[in-house]
């Protein structure tokens, strides 16, 4: 018997431009609320001073925490490393959040500082142990980020104006964000850091009495591997993926040098000029395709959390795309968990495969007669090539009670609030 039950949950979705910043407040029958901040990032803002905008939001969060939560931030979740999810943890805005001294800092297993050490180890030719497997995977993630640096260096109008703009947006989001990452690690050390995978028991439960916290993703490599084994008799596919990135990173430099340093070079002759133009654009297409692939790979390290409280369920999936969901959706107990959730934070700003069809079928089977599923979407049209996806938007608008941050005026004080009564 819970003596002080949760009576309502409020979700504040801030308009951060392109990015996520969600403050989840658990309201108890008596006493202060308990707060969990899920992501704090922004990119693609048209504002002249995006840092100032994030400062305003940080100040707003600080005020709420001080006035409503007894000055305690109970949980901080950084779903994954993308700038639009953690980019706010820099400068003054970052300092304001750090000063709130979150009790638990939740990040995906791929961000574990020890794992990063492994990541520097050279991949063995045929990894046998899970440790080596993890090391190789993390090393691949690092290499992908390294590729972003190179791609950013190459993104000029020569490769096509549109290509260059898209590459700059995606590569910038994927860049190693040292200050924000260091701050998160520091907060994790000072507080109660945890680096979770699907099925992990989250320390957030200890901070939120009466709330069950289920971690549905990201799967670790043993879980991913077990899923893929069901599909493929050929394990090479997995290692091929890792190998590709190591080869790519090795061959890419921010300012690459000609591969034949001593060979004679010439100005492109007139007969080659049409082709040179085309070739440059093709190169841009290739860079963009690769940056998209690595953007997706990093999205798939997103933490997926489901809060279960008083018979109500709230699902937050970061930017998890299909490959991340693959594991959770293959597990009967998780399928049952997501069935008929009450609130869903739309994955990856409304992209086409972050709300897999089978997940969609499960989550919007709401309890009979209890109204529509509430959905929260943080997106910005025209920034990312694939979001929001029009057919998903149609479904969200037609079949759910949608709250969309796009169009909500900044600054933060006007953040829409979605309330779930328990």
């Amino acid at each position: 018997m819970v003596t002080n039950p949760v009576v309502a949950v409020e979700v504040r979705a801030y308009n951060v431009g392109f990015g996520d910043c969600l403050l989840v407040l658990f309201e108890y029958a008596s006493g202060p609320k308990r707060a969990v901040l899920i992501d704090f990032g922004s990119t693609g803002r048209s504002s002249k001073s995006p840092e100032k905008a994030m400062e305003k939001i940080a100040t707003e969060i600080q005020k709420i925490v001080q006035e409503q939560c007894g000055g305690v931030l109970h949980g901080l979740v950084a779903t994954h490393r993308h700038k639009d999810h953690i980019g706010g943890f820099i400068g003054t805005a970052g300092q304001i959040i750090e000063a709130l001294q979150p009790k638990v800092v939740t990040q995906p297993w791929t961000e574990h500082p020890d794992a990063a050490k492994d990541a520097k180890a050279a991949p063995s030719e045929e990894p046998k142990s899970i440790r080596a497997m993890r090391g190789n995977y993390l090393r691949s993630l690092e290499q992908m980020r390294g590729f972003c640096v190179a791609a950013l260096g190459q993104a000029n109008n020569r490769v096509g104006v549109v290509n260059a703009s898209k590459i700059r947006f995606l590569a910038d989001t994927n860049l190693p964000n040292k200050e924000a990452v260091d701050r998160l690690q520091r907060m994790a050390k000072a507080g109660k850091g945890e680096f979770v995978r699907a099925g992990a028991k989250s320390k957030l439960e200890g901070q939120l009495p009466g709330v069950k916290v289920h971690v549905l993703g990201p799967p670790d490599l043993t879980q991913t591997d077990s899923i893929l084994k069901q599909k493929s008799s050929d394990k090479d596919e997995f290692w091929q993926f890792l190998e590709f990135w190591s080869l790519l990173q090795a061959g890419s430099n921010a300012v690459p040098a000609p591969v034949f340093a001593k060979a004679k070079t010439v100005r492109p002759p007139r007969t080659a000029q049409w082709f040179v133009n085309r070739a440059n654009r093709q190169y841009g297409n290739q860079l963009l395709s690769i940056v998209r692939i690595l953007d997706k790979a990093l999205n798939n390290t997103s933490v997926i959390l489901l809060f279960e409280v008083g018979g109500k369920k709230l699902l937050f999936s970061g930017d998890a795309q299909l490959e991340n969901w693959m594991y959770a959706l293959s597990q009967p107990e998780y399928r049952e968990l997501v069935q008929g959730v009450d609130l869903y934070k739309v994955g990856h700003h409304g992209s086409g495969n972050a709300t897999p069809k089978s997940l969609w079928k499960l989550i919007h089977q709401g309890p009979d007669g209890e109204g529509k599923l509430k959905t929260v979407l943080s997106t910005m049209k025209g920034k990312h090539h694939e979001v929001p996806q029009p057919l998903l938007m149609d479904a969200l608008q037609a079949e759910t009670e949608l709250t969309n941050t796009e169009g909500v005026r900044s600054p933060a004080l006007s953040a829409p609030v979605v309330r779930i009564q328990i």
């Binding site: 050929d234 590709f244 090795a250 061959g251 010439v266 085309r278 070739a279 297409n285 996806q389």
Partner: protein, 547 residues
């Protein structure tokens, strides 16, 4: 590929021509521009018939971009020549230019591909040692593979359309087959695969090989798997693995029904596996005809020569089959039938090496049986066709004239009269038959396209069409290949009709199930190779989860 610890090289003949610097010839223009570094290397000058790199060291071969330019030029031209030899005519590119542009060092990325839009082949370079990158342009099979995509696109421009699941797999599978057979047609390669310790002509001349090393299983092991391994080492990543996987696929008749092999790359591997088994079988037939020089031993030189000949012959058969294939919605079964029919036309007697039998039985082992539809024009049908209003001479080259023939005979040829119909090619060709006579044929292709709305399709199938709005248009493809004999009479009509909303519901449901109404084929090859290498595969049942 290595011979001992040296790079294995081979001399290949190419059509003679006077080249401009590049090399820039009548069909190919090598442009050595690197987009990663914006570097244009000096065009390679080739003067005379002598190979300036004939005696070059490995360091020179790897480090001289001029050799790389010469190498891609030679392999592209050799592949083009193989197609023109098989088809008995010039083969055009799919774009409005006579010269295919080839960039041997296009960018510092692990990819190589054909782009119709850019009228070009792009070869990247990559590697973990910046001083010794892997050059895809130096790999014979990669260059032959990409050239085959370009040639196939020139011959069957609609094979990039999503009109059947096998067709999606065919482009990649066929390019792999031609690349592999092209490699095997080099005696130098076959020799090294059979006898990796061999160090040259002299040893080969005196050499023997024991019969237990030339059984079907032994050849499969040494030649096919050996080549797959070598390629895997030379071009790490997706390509090497794909080839290794193809040749290692164990035959089973239900393989194409398995979920894993509904994905286009894996499905293409089944096609490659069937063709390469045919190759080994034919090679073994040829070896059986060799007499034993000593007890239990045959002449290694002859075994090598026969391997290369078998590869060359099968390559010719494979290419020639294209003329007998329908221009849209191709199935593996139809390709097999076309291959058998085209070969029978030019070589009625399959003896002594039983190529057709080897091909048929290898495909059957993978569940691919010849299509039961007869495309030959029998005497009765011939009698019903109208020729009175068309002119023999024009019918050999004029698309409007052939269209008139089709239109005059629209009922007899079972055209869909609701469809947009266009003749997309008319090509006269001359082939030499085994009886010494010249076989003249004219090959013409037409396509038919019907646009239906999603609402119409959905109503006809009684099934919703996922991810599409009611008013969206969906294209349904059909078409036929007409082969006229030397007297201008139609002798072969390979047709896949446009699926009909009322009568072909099963087929339409399959197309829907396979996701073939999704469209978008531009940039297909550049994305295909990249996606294959750089993304994790999806588990079963997860392929169709997006919006």
């Amino acid at each position: 590929m290595l011979a001992g610890d040296r790079i294995l090289t081979a001399n290949v003949p190419v059509p003679v021509e006077n080249l401009e610097p590049g090399p820039r010839g009548y069909r190919v223009h090598v442009i050595d521009y690197d987009s990663s570094t914006q570097t244009m290397y000096a065009p390679q000058v080739i003067a005379g018939a002598e190979d300036p790199f004939a005696k070059a060291s490995d360091a020179v071969l790897l480090g001289n971009p001029g050799f790389h330019a010469q190498n891609v030029y030679a392999i592209v031209m050799r592949t083009l020549a193989a197609f023109e030899f098989a088809l008995g005519r010039r083969v055009s590119w799919a774009f409005e230019s006579h010269q295919l542009q080839v960039a041997p060092h296009a960018f510092s990325l692990a990819n190589a591909y054909y782009s119709r839009y850019d009228q070009a082949l792009f070869f990247g370079y990559f590697g973990d040692d910046p001083k010794r990158p892997v050059f895809t342009c130096l790999s014979h099979d990669v260059v032959a593979h990409e050239t085959t995509h370009a040639l196939l696109d020139g011959l069957r421009s609609r094979y990039m359309d999503p009109s059947s699941i096998d067709q999606m797999a065919f482009h990649e599978g066929f390019a792999d087959v031609i690349a592999l057979l092209s490699v095997f047609s080099l005696e130098e390669v076959v020799e090294v695969l059979l006898d990796p310790t061999s160090d040259g002509e002299a040893k080969r001349a005196a050499g023997m090989i024991s019969l237990d090393r030339v059984t079907t299983e032994a050849l499969y092991e040494s030649a096919l798997l050996g080549l797959g391994e070598q390629m895997g080492q030379a071009i790490p990543g997706a390509r090497g693995n794909a080839l290794r996987r193809s040749v290692a696929l164990e035959p089973r008749t239900t393989i194409l029904e398995e979920a894993e092999f509904r994905e286009e790359h894996r499905r293409g591997e089944v096609f490659v596996a069937a063709m390469m088994r045919s190759f080994v079988e034919v090679w073994r037939h040829r070896i059986e005809q060799l007499g034993e020089v000593q007890k239990g031993r045959v002449n290694l030189g002859r075994v090598v020569e026969d391997g290369a000949k078998a590869a060359k012959h099968l390559m010719t058969m494979s290419i020639r089959a294209l003329d007998y294939c329908p221009p849209t919605a191709l199935t593996f079964s139809q390709y097999l039938s076309a291959m058998l029919e085209a070969d029978a036309q030019i070589q009625p007697d399959d003896r002594p090496y039983a190529y057709r039998e080897a091909v048929r039985s290898a495909f059957v082992q993978y569940g691919i049986v010849p299509d039961t539809t007869s495309w030959r024009i029998g005497a009765a049908q011939d009698g019903r066709l109208r020729y009175g209003r068309v002119h023999f001479e024009s019918m050999q080259r004029d698309e409007d004239e052939v269209f008139r023939f089709i239109w005059e005979n629209r009922t007899e040829l079972k055209l869909n009269l609701e469809a947009y119909t266009k003749v997309i090619s008319v090509r006269p060709c001359i082939r030499q038959s085994t009886d010494g006579f010249i076989l003249r044929e004219t090959v013409a292709e037409y396509v038919q396209i019907v646009n239906v709305t999603v609402a119409e399709l959905s109503a006809a199938l009684g099934h919703p069409i996922p991810d599409r709005r009611d008013e969206d248009q969906i294209r349904l493809y059909g078409g036929g290949t007409l082969i006229f004999n030397e007297f201008g009479r139609l002798k072969h009509h390979a047709q896949n009709p446009v699926p009909d909303l009322q009568h072909n519901k099963d087929l339409l449901m399959k197309l829907l199930d396979w996701g073939l109404f999704d469209g978008a084929t531009s940039g297909r090859f550049s994305q295909m190779h990249l996606k294959r290498a750089a993304t994790l595969p999806l588990a079963d049942g997860m392929e169709d989860q997006g919006w």
